[in-house]
Amino acid sequence: MTTPSRDTAIAMRASAIHAGYPGVPVLHGVSIEVAAGEMLAIVGPNGAGKSTLLKVLGGSIKPSAGSVELFGRPLDSIDRREFARTVASVGQENAVAFRFTVLEIVLMGRAPHLGAFGFESPRDLEIASAALDRFDLLDLAARHVQELSGGERKRVFLARALAQEPKIALLDEPTAFLDLKHVAEIFARFRELCTERGMAVVATLHDLNAAALYADRVLLLADGAAVAYGTPAEVLTAENLRRVYQTEVYVGRNPSTGALIILPAALPNARA
């Protein structure tokens, strides 16, 4: 995984973000930028502020201080439908009220491109089909989302985000609770999208090995502040991880691929 040159277009930039919930400040001056075609992983312990940062980038939480820019334009100057054509978010919760089919959910991703009433055009259907195909969901198109497994449902929502044809995808734990094969496939799909369409991807991840393997850049958050920000090799060091996660960590290299490997190193009976 090579880091593209940083002079490519910055898709999204957040500067000195302070944000949180009423009475609960979470982020204390976090800055990030993600270039087109780049995958940024946000990692850190529970409660570090990863999801909050993603919600700030997605516009659902207004920062109390600091600014977010989308292709150089401040977020609050962008109309919500235009924003939805540029940025797609997939949250951790993917509950759906009522029995919509998989295809209907994915077609909902076309909404920001359509007028108030009327039907999806053949082109919208093509885009939705391509999104379904990319996540191996074509056979499930007519099924109700409620009948699907957790992993299938997650892929439906990723496909819906893709149907938005966004330039930036914000993914909150996209591979939580998925098995190894689907984790690898989902990251492979998003790497393809980075390369093919120059899509920028920002994902919060618990899985440090996935971050090491797939991300171009990693932001390590702890207690709402950036601990380290850079390439996986720069950020995911035993030293940084021990400090943030407060446990012993082994960082090595996969002998056959040279990829970073991160393992817990505390003895099973040791109490930190």
Partner: protein, 349 residues
């Protein structure tokens, strides 16, 4: 992930999403059902009449019964049933809860109280024709917003809290209506049973036209929100991320449904469960897309109400059962069945 899968695009499976032709076919089928119900409603009743004589001899009792009693009654059934079912669909989408309905949430009760108060006042001051639906609308809107806000726990709409709040509102409005009824001279208001049970007795063409106008206006507004209501099924946050102005959508639905409930209640009292049974059945058969479900509820609700009213008129003829009793007799068990079903898994129909 499997390139070979691209060979069968989902367009071929018309059930997988809503198309214009599927929408039109379903609405046409429902329209035929409505015509059948309306014809039965006109033909049958406590007295036997001859349609030929009703049309050919303006002096005949058949003419008087058909044009003076049955036709306005069927028309009113069509209008009120259509509105209540469409409102039920919209409210269910808004609160993401298939058990929501104007009667169950206590919104109709609020509207009825508003109508009764306006009627009592206007008996002295005049202007009842305007004041009654207006006050019913205002009280319905107030009830809607209050129920919605009270059911909100930590920014989340709790499905069962919502129903409990509805139960409380129903009981409360019912008690106030009783109170008003005992204070004012009985002469002012129609029978209290009329308001609490709901009935389509003795409507006039004038009333029907007024309610139809308000209902159509409200429905037009709802139809423009149909796609946004679909997106709302994904949750407020996801809907907003797809470009929906959720607060504006919510306000629009509050006002449009309150206008419709206010108009319906001011002529027919509280008729519960129509807005529950009709949308649920249609959703089960035709899917959840509100671009179909809203107009389908409109037509299906009309057919259901006309059929229910026919039963109300002929079941114990020459006496009559309030139509609200018929809908509640069907709706009560139906609601329990849905509640039992829904209780086992997250609310999602």
């Amino acid at each position: 992930m499997n390139p070979a899968a691209g060979n069968h695009p989902p367009q071929r499976n018309s059930a997988a999403h809503l198309t214009r032709s599927r929408l039109l076919r379903i609405l046409a089928a429902l329209a035929i059902l409505l015509i059948v119900c309306a014809a039965a409603g006109g033909l049958f009743g406590s007295a036997h009449i001859s349609l030929v004589r009703a049309f050919s001899d303006p002096g005949s009792p058949d003419h008087a019964i058909f044009f003076g009693a049955r036709l306005p009654r069927v028309l009113m059934g069509v209008i009120v049933g259509a509105m209540l079912a469409a409102v039920g669909t919209a409210l269910q989408a808004l609160v993401r809860n298939p058990l929501a309905e104007g009667g169950i949430l206590g919104i109709s009760g609020g509207g009825a109280l508003g109508a009764i108060l306006a009627m009592v006042m206007s008996a002295k001051l005049g202007g009842g024709e305007v004041a009654v639906p207006l006050c019913a609308f205002g009280a319905a809107l107030l009830s809607t917003v209050a129920v919605y806000r009270l059911a909100m726990v930590d920014g989340q709409l709790e499905p069962f809290t919502l129903l409990l709040v509805g139960v409380i509102f129903n009981a409360f409005w019912g008690a106030v209506i009783m109170l008003v009824n005992s204070v004012v001279n009985f002469y002012y208001a129609r029978s209290i049973l009329f308001w609490l049970m709901g009935s389509l007795e003795a409507p006039t063409y004038r009333e029907a036209a007024m309610v139809a106008g308000l209902g159509l206006a409200g429905f037009a507004v709802l139809m423009f929100q149909a796609r946004d209501l679909n997106l709302l099924s994904l949750g407020d946050e996801s809907a907003a991320e797809l470009g929906v102005d959720v607060d504006r959508l919510r306000r629009t639905i509050f006002v449009a449904t309150s206008v419709m409930i206010g108009a319906a209640v001011s002529v027919s009292g509280i008729i519960s469960f129509v807005g529950l049974i009709v949308p649920h059945t249609l959703r089960l058969v035709f899917g959840a897309d509100h671009r179909l479900l809203l107009p389908a509820s409109l037509i299906g609700g009309a057919a259901f109400m006309v059929a229910a009213d026919l039963v109300a008129r002929v079941a114990i003829a020459p006496a009559e059962i309030p139509v609200g009793a018929i809908t509640a007799l069907c709706g009560g068990p139906f609601f329990i069945y849905m509640l039992r079903r829904e209780g086992r898994r997250p609310l999602s129909l």
